[in-house]
Symmetry: C2
C-alpha cells in the first residue's frame, strides 16, 4: 500500500488525505461489533460521558484482537511510514464513540499541541489516522478540518478542562477565524470503512452529535520512532511508552477474522 | 413564480423544497447588511444569547423596509399560496443569527407543535420559509430535516425551557430515532440567497455553530388566513394577530433597493 505522488503532494499542501472504502463492509462490521463489546468492559481505559454512555476506549489494541490487528494494518501503517519517512510506533490508540444525541463537542485544537505540552514529544513528526466505523454524515458530528492549517506550525493554546470531558489544549477564537478565513473548513464525510489521515498540526474540531445515529471512529496516533515522547506524565495507556517499531501485518489480517466469523471459530 | 408539478409532488412527499439561487447576490447583500443593522437595535423584539450576542430579531418586517419587502416577496409568497391553496398571513417573522462559535443548538421539533400548543392554531395549514443570508455549510450549524416526517402528523412534545434560549416544544428521542430510521436526515446547504420551504410538521433541528462563520437565516412562518390562531398568549410581535392576506409585491421589489443603494439614495 503506497500513496501516489499526487496524494503525498496533497497531504503536504492540505494536511490531510481522505481515503474512502479503505476497509470492506465485512472488515468494518467485525470492528464495529468489537467496539460495541469493548465499550461494555469495566476497565480504567474505557471512559464515559456524564450521562454514563461510553465515550472513549483507550489502548484497545492491547486487549482486543481485532483492534490489535487494525493497529498493525498495512493499509494504515505503510502510508504513515511513507509520509513520516521512517518507522513508527503507536503513541495513542482510541475508539471514540460520539453517542447518539449525547456525543459532545470537541473544540478547535491541534493534537500535537497536547503531545508537546503533556508528553514532551520533540517534533510534529507524528500523525493521526481516523477509521470510520459508522457512516459519517452532516448529521452525526463530523470531524472538521481547516485545510493547510498545519503549515502555520504549533499555535498557542489554552488548557480547556471544562467544555469537553477530556482535557484538551484548544486554540483561541481569533486564531481559528484567521486560519479558517485562509483555508476554509472541510468535513470529510463518507461511509463506514473510510479513512482520514491528518497531520498532527492540522487544526480540527467536531460539533456535538444531535442525531439518533452513532458515530464511532478509531483514532491511531503514530509517531516516528526517534521522535518518541520524553515525559511520562500521562497514564501509559493514554500516551504509550513502547517505542518498538510497528511491523505491519499482511493485508488480509482483518479478512481472516471475517472468514473465521463465517466459520464460527475464533482466529488465532 | 409558480412551482412545477414535480416540485409540488416532492413537497407533499418529503415535506420540504430547497430552492438555490432564489435571490441574487446583490439582493442578499442588501438583506445581510440590514440584518446587521437590525441586530444593533435596542428593541424588545431583538433577543440576545447569554453571551450578549444577538440571536433573534422578531417582526423585522414591521420596522425595516428591506425586511418588509422580503415579507411580501412574490418568490416566497406565491409558492406558499400555491402549496397551502389559499391566501396567507404572516404568523411569525424572525431573523435568526447563529453566531460564530456561540450559536446554540435547536433540539428536534415541529414548528406546528408550538403554534398549536401556544397559539391554538387549528390545523397545520401553515409553513416555513428559510432565506439564507449567509452561505450555509456543514461547518456553521446547518438546519437538518427528517424527510417525510411531516406525514406522521403532530407528535407529542415536551416543553424545553432549558437547552435553548427560546422555549420550544421538543420531541422525545425515541420518536426522533424512529422517524430518522425511516426517512434519514438531510441538511439542505447552499449559498446565501438560497431558500428552504418546509411543512410546519416537518421535524427539524440544528447543531451549534462551532465555526468562525456566521449563519443568519430569515424565517417567515405563513399561515392560511382562515387557519389563523385563536389564542393570544404570546407577544403580538412573536405570534402576529394581523390576519390580513398578504398581497405580493413585484418581483423587483428588492432589486429596487439594490438600485437605490447604487445611486446612493433611499428607495420609497
Amino acid at each position: 500500500m503506497r500513496l501516489s505522488e499526487d496524494q503525498v503532494a496533497r497531504f503536504r499542501d492540505e494536511g490531510y488525505l481522505f481515503l474512502p472504502d479503505t476497509f470492506s463492509a465485512d472488515e468494518t462490521a467485525v470492528l464495529r461489533d468489537e467496539a460495541a463489546h469493548v465499550f461494555t468492559l469495566d476497565r480504567e481505559e474505557v471512559w464515559r460521558e456524564t450521562s454514563g454512555v461510553a465515550r472513549t476506549a483507550f489502548a484497545a489494541h492491547t486487549y482486543s484482537e481485532p483492534f490489535r490487528r487494525l493497529g498493525r494494518h498495512p493499509r494504515l501503517i505503510e502510508p504513515v511510514m511513507q509520509l513520516l519517512d521512517g518507522q513508527v510506533y503507536m503513541h495513542q490508540y482510541k475508539i471514540n464513540a460520539k453517542a447518539p444525541f449525547d456525543g459532545e463537542v470537541w473544540q478547535w485544537h491541534q493534537d500535537y499541541g497536547t503531545w508537546k505540552n503533556d508528553d514532551d514529544m520533540p517534533e510534529a513528526r507524528a500523525m493521526n489516522i481516523a477509521v470510520f466505523l459508522d457512516d459519517v454524515t452532516v448529521a452525526n458530528g463530523p470531524l472538521m478540518v481547516i485545510p493547510g492549517s498545519h503549515k502555520a506550525g504549533v499555535q498557542e493554546a489554552g488548557h480547556d478542562l471544562e467544555t469537553t470531558s477530556y482535557p484538551l489544549w484548544t486554540l483561541d477564537r481569533a486564531k481559528v477565524a484567521e486560519l479558517a478565513e485562509a483555508g476554509g473548513i472541510v468535513a470529510p464525510m463518507g461511509k463506514a470503512g473510510s479513512v482520514l489521515m491528518f497531520h498532527s498540526n492540522l487544526v480540527h474540531a467536531s460539533p456535538p452529535n444531535i442525531s439518533p445515529f452513532g458515530r464511532t471512529i478509531v483514532y491511531l496516533s503514530l509517531c516516528e520512532v526517534e521522535n518518541h515522547i520524553r515525559r511520562f506524565k500521562r497514564k501509559e495507556w493514554i500516551a504509550h511508552r513502547d517505542f518498538t517499531p510497528i511491523e505491519p501485518l499482511d493485508d488480509d489480517c482483518l479478512a481472516e477474522l471475517v472468514a473465521a466469523r463465517r466459520r464460527g471459530t475464533a482466529a488465532e
